[in-house]
Each structure stands twice: as C-alpha cells, then as structure tokens.
C-alpha cells in the first residue's frame, strides 16, 4: 500500500531573538527553514542531523506541538494547520510521540497501568474493563509483564521505561508515531533490544514512523527512507540504503565517515569535516554548508542550491548535483523577508 499519510510542504518555524533596545531589525533563528517531505502509510522515515539542525523542532512542528509559521501539514488528507483546537485534539489520537528521556517524561505518581491507560481514557469511550484489557495486551506486546501494571515507573530500568513509553504511544493504534531520539539515553546492550522491538512493532502494526535521531546506525537499521538536515534545511533525502551506500551530499558523506564504528577499518580513507557547525542565528550565505565543504565551488558561497531530484526518489541540495543551478541570492536579505529569501525553486 503506497497511500500517502503525511505531506509536509515548505514548513517554516522561526524563533524571534530578543534584540537590543535600539536595534531596528528584528532577528530570527530559522529552526526549520522550508522543509518538505512526504510519508506513506507503513513507511519509516529517519530525520538525521547534528545539534541545531532543526530536527527536533521539525518533529514537534509536524504535530503542531510547536506552531509552524509557514507551510502545510497534510495529515490523512487534511491540512492540520487549518484545524480548530478541538478538531486537532481529536486528530491527535492518530499521531503519537515517544520521547528520548524515559525518566523525565512520566508522572512519577502514576502507575504503569495509569500511564498507558491515559491516552485511552482521553480519546476512547471504552469501559474501564475493556481499557485494562487493552493496556495488558499492549504491555505484553512491548515485552513488559502485564502483572507489573500496578508498579510505578521508578521501579523499572531505563530500557523498561522506554518500553512503557512505546506502549503509551501504541495503545491508541495511531497511524503515525514520532520517535524523538528514542534510544539515545539507553545503554548499548539495551539500545539493541529497543531498536529490534520498534522495528518489529512497526512492521506488525503498519503504522508510519518518523524517527528523529543523531544516531546514523539506528536510522539505517529502522528506516526505509532518510532525510539529512543541516541548519534548518534538508540537504539530502532518499532511500536509506541508497543514501548510506552512496552519500551524494558532501555533508552526508562527512557525517557517515565521522561515526566511530566498533571494528577495525585500516586503510580506509575518511574525509573529516573541518570547522564548526555555524550558529543558526547567522547561517552562512548561499549553501549553509559551504564553509565546511571540501568540494565547495565558486557559486556555493552566494547561491543556495536547489533541492533537486536526481533519480530513484532521491533529492540533493548541492551544486555538484544541480545541472541547472540554484537561484541567486545576491545581497543580504532584510530578515523581515527571510521567509521568502530562504525559498527555493522547488517550493511553490
């Protein structure tokens, strides 16, 4: 089934910077700067990038947990940006999120049963008995002993708590699950258990899954497709296997090469990226990546590359792969109009 569940178009979320008393210009950080992608039913998409790339803001904005400033979010055929509060509340049962920190995201006074039941009691009209039945079923599914349902979260280890978080997300049988760094806080031996569980549950339930992470290995293991973000923009997107086997964007290549792997790799030449991740307050002009890019061309410091389709459902925002070139951004743009300035030709 290749039906589309979610389409995000030109999503922008900016944060106002508090400016000085006499400053005339209002300045913004473009945390998410015109991101577009689509997600089919039963498909998994990884969003990967380093700090400040906007991946977490994007994951919140696509659920309207933070309000986007521009763009569309078509979920189950409707733009959820146009929904009223009440309509959105009802739609929420179809979209759930699993957070990174299984220690901070639960009310410590609630039992596991109450925690997992909470979404049900909000969204369903089932009887208490039917809901308990469902709670037990979901607990078993995520590998928790249903007999432990009256315990409190602090009695569980980190890995088990993340299972509770997954159970909470699954209990409503949502169509979309977002995982925000769901395994990053876990120990190596536990991480593998949770990754296997998430992959298996996604395949069984047929839910679509967006996994936001800085962990490239986890993304490659779980996701059908991957989008690589840098300073608020997607720089490369495609089928996971294609992107990891043959990264096209120099940033993707550098990122994959920078991951230390637990094996020997003698003689392998790696391209270490130089320089720092620039501040999103003052992103470099043209291609945001050009100051760190080992392959930068002349136009890269002035012209933002278009996000081009390069075949096989693969898109890259890089002049090396753009025969037609990008659009000119000749002068620094007044920031009030920055929403337009960051716009690329594929975004109309």
């Amino acid at each position: 089934m290749q039906a589309e569940l979610l389409r995000v178009k030109n999503l922008v979320r900016r944060y106002e910077l508090r400016s000085g008393l006499f400053s005339r210009q209002q300045r913004y950080i473009h945390a998410v700067d015109g991101v577009s992608f689509s997600l089919n039913r039963a498909e998994t998409l990884g969003i990967v990038g380093e700090s400040g790339c906007g991946k977490t803001t994007l994951s919140r904005a696509m659920l309207r947990l933070v309000e986007p400033d521009e763009g569309e979010i078509i979920f189950r055929g409707r733009d959820i940006r146009s929904l009223t509060k009440e309509e959105l509340r009802r739609e929420r049962r179809h979209m759930q999120i699993v957070f990174q920190d299984p220690f901070g995201s639960f009310n410590p006074r609630m039992t596991v049963r109450e925690l997992i039941d909470e979404p049900l009691s909000v969204h369903s009209r089932d009887s208490a008995a039917a809901r308990l039945e469902r709670v037990r079923e979901v607990m078993a599914k995520v590998g928790l002993d249903p007999r432990l349902c009256d315990r409190h979260p602090h009695e569980f280890s980190g890995g088990q708590r993340q299972r509770i978080g997954i159970a909470r997300a699954l209990v409503l049988r949502p169509e979309l699950i977002i995982g925000d760094e769901p395994v990053s806080a876990l120990d190596v031996s536990i991480r593998a258990q949770i990754l296997n569980l998430m992959k298996q549950l996604q395949e069984e339930s047929g839910a679509s899954f967006v996994m936001v992470s800085h962990d490239l290995g986890a993304i490659r293991f779980i996701c059908h497709r991957v989008a690589v973000m840098y300073l608020g923009r997607v720089v490369e997107e495609g089928r996971t296997e294609d992107v990891f086997r043959e990264p096209l964007h120099p940033y993707t290549r550098g990122l994959i090469d920078a991951v230390p792997v637990p094996r020997l790799r003698p003689g392998k030449t790696r391209q270490l990226l130089t320089g720092e991740i620039p501040s999103p307050v003052n992103p470099p002009r043209g291609c945001h990546f050009h100051p760190r890019c080992p392959l930068a061309l002349k136009q890269c410091n002035s012209v933002a590359p278009a996000f081009n389709e390069v075949g096989g459902g693969r898109r890259v925002a890089c002049h090396l792969f753009a025969p037609t070139g990008g659009i000119d951004t000749p002068a620094p743009v007044p920031v009030e109009k920055a929403g337009l300035a960051g716009r690329r030709p594929d975004q109309h």
């Binding site: 380093e50 700090s51 280890s157 890995g159 088990q160 120990d187 190596v188 031996s189 536990i190 991480r191 593998a192 258990q193 990754l195 296997n196 992959k199 800085h214 490239l216 290995g217 986890a218 993304i219 490659r220 293991f221 296997e241 990891f244 550098g254 990122l255 994959i256 090469d257 920078a258 991951v259 230390p260 792997v261 637990p262 094996r263 020997l264 270490l272 990226l273 130089t274 720092e276 991740i277």
Partner: protein, 328 residues
C-alpha cells in the same frame, strides 16, 4: 613496547560505596597497566565502574566511596596511600583529567585566558604576562582558531567543541605524564567528536602523553585506544591490544557489544540486531558465579557456580570466561 614496564599500575583495586547497611562493592579487584605513550581504553555500560576507576587514580572519589583494597602505583609510587598534599601537587602536573561536559568544568565568570593562564601561574609560578603568552600558545596547540582573541572570551561564547579544546589545553599545560579522559567526546556532535579524537591522537603522538580513555562507545575506543579493557559489573572481563580485541573478541559480552551496534557504513544491515538479553544487574544484587551468566548465550553450569579465572588467550590478551579457560 612489549617489555616496557607500566607507567601506571592498577593492582587488584576495589572500591566500595559505604551505605547505611554496609559496604557495596562497585569495583572489584581490577588489575590493569598503562604503558608510557599508550592509550588505554576503558569501555563498559553505565554502572560498570569505569568512571570510578578513573576518578580513584587522582583520588577524586566522592564522599561515601572508598578504596577498599589493592593499590595504584605511578612509576612504582603508591597513590592510594599518598598524603592529600602530595596528591594535590600531582594533579594537573603529573596526571590531569578532562571530563564529559566542558561547560561545567570551566568557570563561567572568568575568561578563557584567565583560566588557562591560571594553570601556568599555579604550577609553574609564571608572571601574569608570561602566563598569558603561554595560554595563547597552549590554545594554538590544540587548534583553537585566533587564540589571541579567544583568551578574552568567556566559556559561554564558545561552542562545545571549542570548550573541550580549551579543557585539553589546560590539562596538557604542564605536560603531564598521564591524561585521564572521561567520556571527553560524548556530549559533542559527531563531526566535532571526530575532530577532537583526531586532536587527541595527534597530541598523544607529539607529546608522548599516556592516556586513560573512558568511553561507553566501543567505536570511539576502536579509534583512539592502543589497548582496551572491557568492564562489566566492576570487573575487567576482557583486555587486549585494540587490533587483537576486534579481530578476536573472546568474551561473550565483548562480542555482544560489538554486534549490538548498527554501523552506518556497514556493507549490509542485519534484519535483527544482536541483542544482549536482560538488564545490567544493580550493584549489591549481583548474580553468583560469573556476573554475566544470566545474560550469556553460552552459559553453562559452572558459570552459575564459580567465578571464571582470568586466562591469557594471546599476547597481552586476557579474558575472564569459563569457555576460554577450558579452551586454553
């Protein structure tokens, strides 16, 4: 390298937490050696004792923790019993340390220059201008761009990677024999981590500093260490030169850790990751026999009853596992 006597010897070291209802052993009879010019990687999951072990070398254990057995020797001198005054003189001079979070280790109200210069003023009794000049030099040596500007800035003005470079500059200011690095790149982004690891390797080559490198990440250890010790529940379960360990891991826990990590640049991705079942047991609730046996895929009767001995399975390669003991 083979015959050089260890610069630092950890000899049967045990560390206890003193709790109301008696001591709980957190590090249990660890024996390790660090040779001059070598990087020793200590790897393990939370609670394995790797950080305690490193803190105990500089006698920085938190109150309530104490060395309950064994010894630590630097060039033959016992550190476990040295008076506090002498230990203090040694910290920063002969052995120094860098930490995971460089923000909390730097003082936010002093400039970078003040903090780096302080090391030279304290340990080498240099004048202010001399110390300042040395600070600029030290920052340049760790790849901080325009160090003469950076010395006037505050920690908050610097990125995480730059702060860690400053910490490294401070730690190496007095050319210590040993640098203890406790998860120095864990808080950093992947591409910045790669730069810092590269920097540390370069400094180690140039200055001949010996490094104890603590990490939860077997991949990081594979990149920096010459010799690796794998810890589990307060014990060393396997140690070997890095190439030997990755070519021929013998302990089921080591093998499990290696298989549990999906590698982004692998040829093929498995459908199911290798899992280590169960959870890390809590200190004070350790299973009898081999501590890994409840999670071990090849555990046998003897593993439940009796602690495996440490056996040599190759040159400098030791493992504490009954399977290896029977084979040798």
């Amino acid at each position: 390298m083979e015959a050089a006597p260890p610069l630092l010897e950890i000899d049967g070291l045990s560390i206890d937490a003193m709790l109301a209802d008696g001591p709980v052993r957190l590090v249990d009879g660890v024996t390790l050696g660090l040779r001059a010019g070598e990087v020793l990687g200590l790897v393990g999951e939370s609670g394995c004792g790797k950080s305690l072990l490193s803190y105990s070398i500089l006698r920085l254990l938190a109150p309530g923790l104490r060395i309950s057995g064994g010894d630590i020797r630097l060039e033959g001198r016992s550190l476990a019993t040295l008076p506090e005054r002498k230990i203090r003189a040694m910290r920063g001079n002969e052995i120094s340390m860098i930490f995971q979070e460089p923000m909390t280790a730097l003082n936010p109200v002093f400039t970078i220059g003040d903090q780096v210069a302080e090391v030279f003023r304290t340990h080498q009794r240099l004048s202010r201008p001399q110390a300042r000049a040395k600070a600029v030099e030290a920052l340049a040596a760790v790849g901080v761009p325009s160090p003469e500007i950076r010395v006037g800035q505050y920690p908050a003005d610097l990125s995480g990677g730059m702060r860690q470079r400053v910490m490294i500059a401070m730690a190496l200011a007095c050319r210590p024999k040993i640098l203890i690095a406790d998860e120095p790149t864990t808080a950093l982004d992947t591409t910045i981590q790669a730069q810092i690891l590269e920097l540390m390797r370069g400094l180690q080559r140039n200055f001949g500093t010996s490094i104890v490198f603590i990490s939860h990440d077997l991949g990081v250890v594979a990149e920096v260490a010459d010799h690796v010790a794998v810890l589990y529940c307060g014990r060393v379960v396997e140690e070997a030169p890095v190439a030997e360990l990755f070519r021929n891991p013998r302990h089921p826990y080591t093998r499990g850790l290696m298989g549990a990590v999906p590698q982004p640049d692998a040829e093929d991705m498995p459908d199911v990751l290798h899992e280590i079942k169960g959870n890390v047991p809590r200190p004070g609730h350790l299973p009898g026999g081999c501590r890994f046996h409840p999670r071990c895929p090849v555990a046998r009767d003897i593993c439940r009853i009796s602690d495996p001995p440490r056996v040599a399975v190759g040159a400098q390669h030791h493992v504490a596992c009954w399977e290896a003991a029977d084979a040798s």
